[in-house]
Amino acid sequence: MDTTSSINTPESGMVELATFYVGQALCGMDILKVQEINKLMEMTTVPQAPNYVMGILNLRGQIVTIIDLGKKLGLATTEMSDTSRNIIVNSKGEYIGLHVSKISDVVEADWSKVEPPPANIGGVQGTYFRGVFKTKQSLIGILDTEKVLLEEN
């Protein structure tokens, strides 16, 4: 599995996942990475920004770049709706907001039960997932946030 993202928590023991929907897909990320979740939508668009950047907003005096997680993952555009939220994460000393369609539960997962991402997601998306966790109802794709937020060259 992924060895490059050393900043991530060790992949062993229990982990609490904040889960959310990107479009129809249920994704999760280590809850300890989450700074806050808000529904600030007063964004300022940035012309000429990469297409996955929705805009920037003022989070208590700090400028936060909001990223459309759907687009970033190569899925559909995440529409702004009543349920959509920004998950603010702190990455390399900078706040970045991930815009998701809907927030779901916090799920406790055991790393030992996390399976590697299925071979058929592959491509761009594949690299963004650390693994898949299966619950009774659904599958949660565990996001590698550092990779998602990595600067594109």
Binding site: E42, T44, P47, Q48, N58, I63, E94
Partner: protein, 1112 residues
């Protein structure tokens, strides 16, 4: 080595660095003064060096101490006029101060550095003088540099005192000369007596009390190295604490031969003080180096004193010498100061001393970690903070109780306090630019010396303050520029002399505030920068194309120097230099939000101007709105705001090639649409619905050619037909809705500048100017070059800050390309300056598709667009109904042999006013107004109605003579005009000076037509001679301004100053009468200004003046 605690060391370093900076400049001043020594200055350096030394001794920084000590010795010599501060001497001192600086930069390891070479140099300088000095004064040390320095070195004398040094360099006492000298004058002898408690007293069974009493009876104790209680309070067995070596300074009438009767100690421990304040043994041998270590005698308190780390003050005549044994004193360089903290280096510390050595801890001593702030400023900050707290309480209370009025008041107070607080905090960060400037005298001196040039540096505005970060960042770029000025700007003395300049080159460095910014100007009177050579170089490097170069003005060529890649490591001295790393300078300044611009004249010198913001954190910005989002444009870049009313857009927005430009005070300003550059849809507010709608206007103005193939006037010229067609089509399209004539569709232009480049940014709306705080953008947006950051507006939303330089680049508007647009003007300007020819504003138009015509713009009243069908043919003449009257129309082909007027539906009418009436010339587009310098050929294509031809835009252009045409068409119009002023039956004679033969013939012709006699002159000088030859005939002078040999101003001045001619009216002929010129003209006495080619007005003016003359 003994290192004090960090804080003390830090303080010492800061002080010392300050001293060092002063030292450098003062040394330069001393050098300049040469043999004419300014005591005050030398003393100042001396004191500074001394303070450094004192502290170094205290800190155990032996290398620093040794070095300063040597410097001190030399300075001492200079002060006592035993040494002339030649530049060699100063050189050594300067390099020593450099070494000092580097030692301090790495203070913790300073003792490990090898500075022996430096010391040897200093000693050599000292010794070089010592030989001669010794003859003059026997007191000079017997050139034994190994011991002398050490001894002197350990005894820094407090202000106003003299250190008396014992053999072996131990510190003796400090005396105040004014205490001692009067006693000597009374015939007393002054002795320094050294008694050892054990050896001299206890061993001989004496008590100190007895000795002191005895001394008191035979003389006066002037001082001792312990605290002496009043005599009657001394107890029998009292001995002073802390020392067993007692020193007395004793004045008595006893002669040297008798003195030891009193003390009965070793004679070599009694020394006599000479009237030069030097110690001698009783045999009269000198024992110590000259006492020229005197810090200024009886000087007022100076900062140097306050900062002296030794706590000694004026009454510190009491010194405890912590001497263990004599040998130690001789071999070790004692780290002693006048304070009680002095101690030999490796002796354990007696516990009672408070500020004693800790073991040294490795820590970083960056020099920028602390800042000196005036206490009053801190107090002010505290007060403001207090007020802020109070206002907050007020606000909280008002909010809790729902008192809206109260909240408002509190809000206002907070607003006020915040501004004040911001200002006060800013002040703490402000530093004077002198910090940077002060190092330049040295830079210039050293460089000039090594290059064999003579350069004088003049600093101005050192007190101007800038934010600390900017001060720090600007040092390097400025140094670079100053070095360049010396290296490439100023010529060697012989070259300068040959060029008729003073052999000493001058560099001005000037800082001043302007419009909330700091301006720095670096100007030199050197050889200047040759734009052609730079352009050639840029061309060679492939940075610009040949076409671009052709279009460039001199100024733009010079500014090529800033092109990245223009100046690499390779020196370009062969092409008049000035290029090494200039792009780096520019990049650095760009980072600071600064602007740089160069102006230069070959042979005269260059001026580099830098504009800097006062601070980087908070910047004033203009807020604009485009595409529904707000953007901030830093005020630094803002030149002006321009709003073009909807009904003028057509007239003022023009197209050159595919670029839109606006005419602004005679200059073409390239326009960039913000919405286009950043790829958003512009919006406008619908005046009827109040809704924001997308603005679908594609072009700002009407004359537009979609398919314009490329930049460059040649291309544009070839493109005329296309443009014409296009114009036609568009005119038609517009007939339906004239939306653009609404007020809301007025054009908002923000005129911004980035260094040499200036352009107009078209935005949807202009908002207020606000102070904003710059916040960085996230990493995902780093690639968006158009933004310098973001800020948070009052309503909490984020606005982007525009980077105007990058925007210009994104729009493909580099400085070079910019010039393509302004090319014609720039070129004309350049030539006007170079060839001293006249600029002419011309309106260019066509009558048929093939022929291009031009008419002087000054004669054009306005241009109308009409339909062919609007023309009425009445009474054999063509007219058009206009403002309730009939405007007579004509076309050029009616008078001149040119191709007939194009058969088009849409025509232009160029309205002229001739003989007080309006007349319209039928023409077709495209029209363009140009300010050009042209060589008019008055012969080849001359015919009635055509005064000549010229090449404009690579096309032969016929210049129409509107007067001739009108005269040919309507001769009756002119009848009433014919007023020939005659004196005694003879026509008046007019002296006419004009260098261009075309204009000369033109104007002369029209004056002669009128009946005047005309004497023509090619320049002012010839005119002046003619005037003298024909003094009695000439009644009036008409002169051009720009002429070789003698210009119109000078000529007028001469005329007006001469008693013979001062009554003569002088009419100046210009192409463009600028306000400045008019003012200048008025000053020298020009009676009237007339525009060339406006014959009518000129003749009217001549008539007028002649009448007045006659009446008088």
């Amino acid at each position: 080595m003994t290192i004090q605690d960090d804080e003390t060391l830090q303080m010492y370093l800061e002080e010392s660095l300050e001293h060092l900076e002063d030292i450098e400049n003062d040394l330069l001043a001393i050098e300049e003064a040469g043999a004419d020594i300014d005591d005050e200055l030398v003393n100042k350096v001396y004191r500074a060096a001394h303070s450094i030394k004192g502290g170094a001794g205290f800190m155990g920084l032996t290398n620093i101490k040794d070095l300063t000590h040597e410097m001190e010795n030399i300075l001492g010599k200079i002060r006592s006029r035993e040494m002339v501060p030649t530049s060699d001497v100063i050189n050594v001192l300067l390099s020593a101060s450099d070494t000092l600086k580097s030692l301090m930069d790495n203070v913790l390891h300073s003792n490990d550095e090898d500075i022996s070479e430096q010391i040897a140099q200093l000693k050599a300088v000292l010794a070089g003088q010592a030989g001669t000095a010794a003859e003059q004064s026997p007191s000079t040390p017997a050139s034994s540099p190994s011991t002398a320095p050490d001894s002197q070195d350990s005894c820094p004398a407090p202000e106003g005192t003299v250190a008396l040094i014992l053999p072996g360099g131990r510190c003796g006492l400090y005396i105040e000369p004014e205490d001692v000298l009067p006693l000597m004058e009374e015939g007393k002898c002054v002795y320094l007596v050294e008694m050892l408690l054990e050896e001299d007293l206890k061993a001989k069974d004496k008590t100190l009390k007895a000795v002191i009493e005895e001394m008191d009876q035979t003389g006066v104790i002037l001082g001792c190295n312990f605290e002496l209680p009043p005599l009657d309070k001394i107890e029998k067995d009292w001995t002073p604490e802390g020392t067993d070596q007692l020193l007395f300074l004793f004045a008595t009438i006893l002669k040297p031969g008798d003195i030891n009767v009193l003390f009965e100690i070793d004679a070599d421990r009694i020394f006599q003080l000479t009237d030069e304040l030097e110690l001698r043994t009783l045999e009269g041998e000198p024992v110590s180096p000259p006492a020229d270590v005197t810090a200024t005698q009886a000087n007022e308190e100076t900062p140097a004193v306050e900062e002296d780390p030794s706590p000694a003050d004026s009454d510190a005549t009491v010194v405890e010498e912590t001497k263990t044994d004599k040998a130690a004193g001789q071999t070790e360089k004692q780290a002693s100061t006048a304070s009680a903290n002095a101690e030999p280096p490796h002796k354990s510390v007696p516990g009672s001393r408070p500020r004693e050595a800790k073991s040294s801890q490795p820590s970083k001593f960056g020099h920028e970690t602390s800042l000196r702030v005036h206490v009053s400023l801190l107090d002010q900050l505290m007060t403001l903070a207090g007020e802020l707290v109070l206002s907050r309480n007020q606000l909280l209370q008002s909010m809790a109780s729902g008192d809206q009025r109260g909240s408002e008041i509190a809000g206002q107070r907070i607003d006020l306090i915040t501004s004040e607080l911001q200002e006060a905090i800013m002040l703490t960060r402000m530093q004077s630019i002198g910090n940077v400037f002060n190092k330049f005298p040295r830079v210039v001196r050293d460089l000039a010396r090594s290059l064999g040039k003579k350069v004088e540096l003049i600093l101005e505005g050192k007190e101007v303050e800038l934010d600390k970060t900017i001060i720090e960042a600007i040092g390097d770029p400025l140094t670079h520029l100053v070095r360049n000025a010396v290296d490439h700007g100023i010529e060697p003395p012989d070259v300068r002399q040959r060029a008729g300049k003073s052999p000493v080159g001058q560099i001005y460095l000037k800082a001043y505030h302007e419009a909330g910014q700091v301006n720095i100007e670096i100007s030199d009177d050197g050889q200047g920068i040759d734009g052609h050579k730079l352009a050639a170089k840029a061309l060679e490097k492939g940075l610009v194309t040949e076409e671009q170069v052709k279009m460039m003005s001199e100024r733009e060529k010079i500014n090529l120097i800033f092109l990245p890649g223009f100046s690499t490591a390779e020196k370009v001295t062969d092409v008049s230099g000035r290029g090494v790393g200039m792009d780096v300078v520019k990049t650095n300044l760009d980072k600071l939000g600064g602007l740089i611009d160069i102006d230069s004249e070959v042979g005269k010198g260059s001026v580099i101007r830098i504009k800097l913001p006062l601070t980087l954190a908070i910047i004033p910005c203009q807020i604009v709105l485009t595409g529904g989002e707000r953007y901030a444009i830093p005020q630094v870049n803002l030149e002006e705001l321009l709003r073009i009313p909807a009904d003028q857009i057509q007239a003022r927005i023009e197209r050159v090639g595919d670029a839109e430009v606006v005419r602004l005070r005679g200059n073409l300003l390239p326009l960039i649409k913000l919405s286009e550059v950043i790829g958003i849809e512009p919006t406008y507010v619908d005046p009827e619905t109040g809704l924001r709608k997308a603005d679908r206007r594609k072009s700002l103005a009407d004359r537009r050619c979609q398919k314009s193939p490329g930049p460059g006037p040649e291309m544009a010229a070839d493109d005329y037909s296309c443009t014409a067609d296009q114009a036609e089509i568009e005119t038609e399209n517009r007939q339906g809705g004239e939306r653009r004539y609404r007020a809301a569709s007025a054009l908002n232009i923000v005129v911004v500048s980035t260094g040499a480049m200036k352009y107009g940014l078209v935005v949807d709306e202009l908002h207020d100017s606000e102070e904003i705080v710059v916040k960085p953008l996230g990493r995902d947006l780093k690639k968006c070059k158009g933004y310098a950051g973001a800020t948070i507006m009052g309503d909490g939303r984020v606005a982007l800050i525009l980077d105007v330089a990058n925007l210009a680049q994104m729009a493909g508007l580099t400085s070079v390309e910019n010039s393509v647009r302004a090319a014609e003007i720039a070129k004309a300007e350049k030539e006007a300056i170079k060839a001293k020819k006249d600029k002419q504003s011309l309106l260019i138009f066509r009558s048929s598709e093939e022929e291009q015509f031009a008419a002087p713009l000054s004669l054009v009243e306005r241009i109308e667009k009409i339909k062919y069908t609007d023309i009425e043919d009445v009474g054999g003449k063509r007219v058009i109904k206009y403002r309730g009257g009939s405007l007579p129309l004509f076309s050029i082909d009616e008078v001149a042999m040119v191709k007939p007027l194009a058969d088009q539906e849409n025509l232009l009418v160029i309205v002229f006013v001739v003989a007080g009436r309006e007349i319209g010339l039928l023409a077709i587009g495209p029209v363009d107004a140009m300010e050009v310098t042209i060589n008019i050929d008055g012969q080849t294509l001359r015919q009635t109605g055509i005064m000549g031809s010229a090449i404009i835009n690579n096309q032969t252009t016929l210049l129409i003579d509107i007067f001739e045409i009108v005269k040919a068409l309507n001769p009756e119009w002119f009848d009433e005009q014919e007023v020939v002023e005659v004196s005694e039956g003879e026509a008046a004679t007019i002296l006419f000076a004009e260098d261009s033969s075309f204009f000369r013939n033109q104007v002369k012709g029209s004056m002669e037509d009128q009946g005047y006699n005309v004497l023509e002159a090619e320049d002012g000088e010839i005119a002046w001679n003619l005037l003298q030859e024909n003094a009695d005939r000439i009644a009036l002078v008409v002169t051009d301004i720009e002429m070789p040999n003698m210009d119109g101003f000078t000529l007028t001045k001469k005329i007006k100053e001469s008693p013979l001619f001062s009554h003569l009216p002088v009419i100046a002929l210009t192409t463009l009468a600028g306000e400045e010129d008019i003012a200048k003209g008025k000053e020298v006495g020009i009676d009237d200004y007339q525009i060339k080619l406006d014959k009518e007005k000129l003749l009217a003016s001549i008539t007028n003046h002649l009448k007045q003359l006659k009446a008088a």
